[in-house]
Amino acid sequence: MTGLSAPAQDFDFSGFVAGETRIFPDKAQFPGQNNSHISPSLVIQPELRYRWNGRDDRITFVPFLRLDADDENRTHVDIRELNWYRQADDWDVVLGVSKVFWGVAESRHLIDIVNQTDLVESPDQEDKLGQPMANLNLLRDWGTLSFFVLPGFRERTFPDDDARLRGALPIDDDPSYESSAEEWHVDFALRYSQTIGDWDFGLAHFYGTSREPQLIPTVDSDGNAFLRQRYDLIHQTSLDAQYTTGPWLLKLEALTRDGHDGDRFFAAVGGFEYTFFGAFESNTDLGLLAEYLHDGRDSGTPATPFEDDIFLGTRLALNDVEDTELLAGVILDLDQEERIFSVEFERRLSDNLNLEIEGQVFDNIDSNDLLSGFEDDSFVEIRLSWFF
């Protein structure tokens, strides 16, 4: 940024180290699955930034390492970011590994497709793997146009066969691809976004390897059932929009996707967030959230539990010195009456220390349902992060 009394060049080193533990109150569901109730883990994510040319040029390096006591797949290394960024007045460009987020909804990140989900991090699918890209953004009066060339596909991470939250069947780690180029297929994406008055919206198209694999039941020569990953080539067109008025946020994400074995389908998540500012005669903001989730995909498509669901949630922000925040919600399946409860709590303990508590409860899960493998994997995660 030109205006921040920026030195000609500067170097910045920061990041965090976190110790965390998951607590599973229930015994594991499947034989061979790790039965420990307490599962500790250690995360390190340093961030290095080198900027020059009055901050118009930057190199960012963010490696990530997790050491997990129980899940071999969760013990992993990733490069979250390693890129060169160059900005000018009305354009910028990113070359290298980076992360991009698209979307507005809270309950499901439906249209967010550039980066692969790092599923071993959390079943909420909010953690992402670094994605190699060449990205050009044109920032004009008529909106922002973003072009992405995405060489090099990242496979989704899945918990190990003997780990918690693995699902009903083990997932094989030797995926197949529709493209003969396999994981080297070059994907493309284009996004147009603009703010007009109280509306913020984005229109995007993606062509390339689906970030979601089909999980195909297979039996090996010893008669053991497992799931084989298959990544199809897809076309996905999406819209994300938010209308902001007074204390209301109205949100919609919608997509149509083609390219799996099943038919082209439509999916959407939409709803609202309403905030009572200064609730209870205090500085607290109390938000109420409701979203409806629809997904019209059929068989021959990566399965989803969110075909006809409602999300109800509440967000509490105390607006105190410690930035105490709580987000609690439930996703209710309208057809099968399954419930997924989730809670996220965050509070700063000191200048460098942060406490997060997360919980997920899988409740009333039908034994034939996609989520049946998670029935006994309800958990609470406590995380202490030290920022440097």
Binding site: G3, S14, Y85, T195, T244, G278, R348, D351, F387
Partner: protein, 280 residues
């Protein structure tokens, strides 16, 4: 006119000049008394605004020290960028980027101030790389746990308030020796936490010296004192110290500004919501 006492005393040595001055003062008073306290209040606010016109843009580093009743304090460091929007019917654009504490480093807050309509505001959360359009209806909410409400920090536009001149008096401790206009202002925009504010404006340079904030029940809530003013580009005054005391809770927030820079040529595109993720 008590504010001119110093000037008055100086002139006493010169009787002729004094006589002339008295005549001029009388003339000035007549016109001053010709206008209503509302007109006079507005005229002062317009002069404050006029003197600050043309700064173009500004950037500053600031330290925010939050202290509670027990004396425990914590610190935040942030950068504030302002882009002047010269049209009177539109407000300025402001950008805040957090550097400290580390867990919120890179968090950015962007606001396009409007006059009476709700501001447009966005928040960037680095952990998710997510830019969120947020509701600006929380004008009276505390900014990052401080004693400053959003409406205290965002750009002050003339037409956001109705005014009434109350009196002229010495500015007090914060600006020793200076004379002040004391004017009342009443928020015209929705969702303000205040029934009114009483502001002390120094008569020489038209700088705000002190603001008393009255809550919706019209009880004294907070006092902001602005001091350590420096002049930039030979015209524009900026306070290096802004101290807010909450009389009802005993909490205080001190803003210490460092490195004010004006007309540095910030780019309009720095204020694009799509650039929020690139401020670190």
């Amino acid at each position: 006119m008590r504010m001119n006492r110093k000037l008055f005393l100086k002139l006493e040595n010169n009787k002729v000049l004094l006589a002339v001055t008295l005549v001029m003062l009388a003339a000035a008073s007549t016109s001053a008394f010709g206008e209503t306290p509302e007109e006079k209040g507005l005229a002062i606010a317009e002069e404050v605004d006029r003197r600050d016109l043309g700064f173009g843009d500004s950037s500053s580093l600031l330290k925010m020290e939050l202290t509670n009743k027990q004396g425990q304090s914590s610190t935040r460091e942030l950068r504030i960028l302002t882009l002047e929007v010269p049209e009177r019917a539109e407000g300025d654009k402001s950008l805040v980027v957090f550097d400290h504490p580390r867990d919120i480093e890179g968090t950015a807050f962007l606001s396009f101030t409007k006059i009476l309509d709700p501001d447009d505001q966005w928040l960037y959360l680095p952990a998710l790389k997510r830019v969120k359009r947020i509701s600006s209806a929380n004008k009276s909410g505390p900014f990052v746990g401080s004693e400053f409400a959003y409406e205290d920090l965002l750009s002050q536009e003339v037409d956001k308030y109705d005014y009434r001149w109350l009196r002229d008096e010495a500015c007090g401790e914060a600006a020793d020796g200076l004379a002040c206009f004391v004017i009342e202002r009443f928020p015209r925009y929705e969702n303000s936490g205040y029934a009114r504010q009483v502001t002390w404006i120094d008569q020489q340079e038209y700088r705000p010296i002190r603001i008393d904030f009255y809550d919706r029940k019209d009880s004294l809530l907070k006092t902001l004192t602005l001091s350590r003013y420096n002049q930039y580009l030979g015209q524009y005054w900026r306070a290096d110290d802004q101290y807010m005391v909450n009389h009802q809770t005993g909490k205080t927030t001190r803003l210490t500004f460092d490195e004010w820079e004006l007309r540095v040529g910030v780019n309009e595109s720095d204020f694009n919501p799509n650039r929020l993720k690139r401020l670190r």
